[in-house]
């Protein structure tokens, strides 16, 4: 108890001070339940609620924001600069660091999302999730809310990496529509990876196991995508994996939007949207296991 109020409380530090006002007036609003929100409007409302919580937490503790900026900065600075000089990766007339920047944006957003399930397990262990599950929030709405909340973090991270990349001289677009599109891509990708993580959390149920699985799958997802090198230089089996890896679609769209390389934007958006929806469905159906 650091900030103890000035008035000394007799006997018990936790005693509730008795107010002079009659209870019926002081608690007037607590007498009637709020009107129920109907049908599908529950989903956007819960998304807003979960995102608000995420932003409040980030406002109280920004350290995560700073520490998470270190790794992408190093990737761009060391890996990017070096390979730009070596000219070993065929990226056409685009400097390698420019080619790499969207890949690193996607990667750093994915790293945040893929460990989001740990937070769910932590919330389960601390009873926070349990209580949310006893509110008028369908599981799918809760998962969607959490997925977008992780997207909020990822979008902030993406903005940080975009700024770092710009500072390193990467020729990014400044077209606001394209930037907005890029953030939507980051949001969708994060939603998918966060749901993947929550679904795994629903299966393995413990933090340690999820941590292990998260670490085991992030690298294959990252190296098995077009984040570092074009699909053309990959062996056939890796190319096949990259074709089903949502991260590749995310990177493709980001590159098209930010650097202006040739991209399949429509297909990318479609794949990312479908992946996010499938992720939500999978995570929602497994979430109940965390309640038991």
């Amino acid at each position: 108890m650091s900030a103890v109020p000035a008035t000394p409380r007799p006997a018990s530090a936790d005693a509730v001070p008795d107010g002079p006002v009659a209870p019926d007036q002081r608690f007037a609003l607590l007498l009637a339940p709020p009107r129920a929100r109907g049908g599908l409007r529950v989903v956007p409302a819960r998304v807003v609620a979960m995102c608000a919580v995420e932003l409040q937490k980030l406002r109280h503790d920004r350290t995560e924001l700073y520490t998470r900026a270190v790794q992408p900065a190093l990737w761009l600075l060391i890996f990017g600069e070096t390979f730009t000089r070596m000219h070993v990766i065929p990226t056409g007339n685009v400097p390698y660091i420019d080619y790499l920047a969207p890949g690193i944006i996607a990667q750093s957003a994915m790293f945040i999302a893929i460990f989001y399930g740990i937070m769910i397990i932590w919330e389960r262990d601390s009873g926070v999730l349990t209580k949310l599950l006893v509110t008028p929030t369908p599981r799918a709405a809760l998962v969607t809310g959490k997925a977008f909340a992780s997207g909020v973090k990822a979008v902030i991270q993406a903005v940080v990496v975009i700024v770092i990349a710009a500072a390193l001289g990467v020729a990014l677009t400044w077209n606001p529509l394209r930037l907005l599109g890029a953030l939507v891509v980051v949001l969708l990708g994060s939603a998918f990876f966060a749901c993947l993580s929550m679904a795994i959390a629903g299966i393995v149920l413990t933090r340690d196991r999820l941590m292990g699985i998260g670490q085991a799958i992030t690298m294959p997802l990252f190296f098995g995508s077009n984040a570092l090198y074009p699909v053309d230089v990959m062996p056939g089996w890796l190319r096949a994996f990259s074709a089903v890896n949502p991260l590749s679609y995310q990177v493709d769209a980001l590159r098209g939007l930010l650097i202006g390389t040739h991209a399949h934007l429509l297909a990318d958006f479609a794949v990312l949207t479908v992946a996010a929806l499938l992720g939500i469905a999978a995570a929602a159906s497994l979430l109940g296991r965390l309640a038991r």
Binding site: D14, V16, L30, P34, G127
Partner: protein, 298 residues
Amino acid sequence: MTTSLPHHVEPAGRSADGAALSCVDLHYAFGATKAVDGLDLRVEQGEVFGLLGPNGAGKTTTIRAITTLLPVPPGVVEVFGHDAARQKMAVRRLLGYVPQQLSADAGLTGHENVALFARVFDVPRRERAARVAQALDAVGLTDAAQRSAGTYSGGMVRRLELAQALVSAPRLLILDEPTIGMDPIARDSVWERISDIRAGTGMTVLVTTHSMEEADQRCDRLALMHRGRVRALGTPEELKAELIAHRRESGDADPRPPSLEDVFRHFAGSGLGDPGPDEQRGEFSDVRRTRHTASRVG
């Protein structure tokens, strides 16, 4: 409601007779452990109903079944006439729930913790700030509202959780060991706040506790659970009278009038239980969990 309801559910029947909560032959097993084993329970509107029983009796499991956290078949649990299996959302809107473990989010302030629950219960924006303020005021946390809940003492966290549960004006408030680890004065003040709110709303309260004194003073009726079933039911006075009658029958001439603790020992104590299965029922984890909560609270 349509006519396609199965015959054992009477659409106007149980809901019309006005119970706040009814459980009919509730079962729940974790693997081989029968945590709840044929529990019948009926809580009337507006009463404070205490669920007592030794560690591992199945109190928390019962509550988790009522709160829709555990799957139950239709027709078993009803809250104000709404079936917990079929009308989950309707049931959840009527409930305020404070779980056994401390459950405030330490990364948020007290105010933000309550505001989250105002949001997820669809409190309209224009009413939200005032409602949250009243809920915090109701538990005496107005001064600490802007502090991180991570800095709260155990008793303050419990009151914060109460504010979270009260912000949606629940008709059935479910408290799983709400006063564990609280000092007597803090405990009394929490109960006074609950009484205040109840006076205004006629809210029903279902509470579990290991404090017989609290049960005796605060609860209108009690159910004593043991091994997943209700073993005794009635007002504190009725339960004591039952024990006196039982003593007389068995020729046990204890001259002192029995306390509720004696009743508890009689129905749940070693006298009744054959020790075998009891020891296999995860007692260690129960004790550990209780201690864990106690250490976090105290």
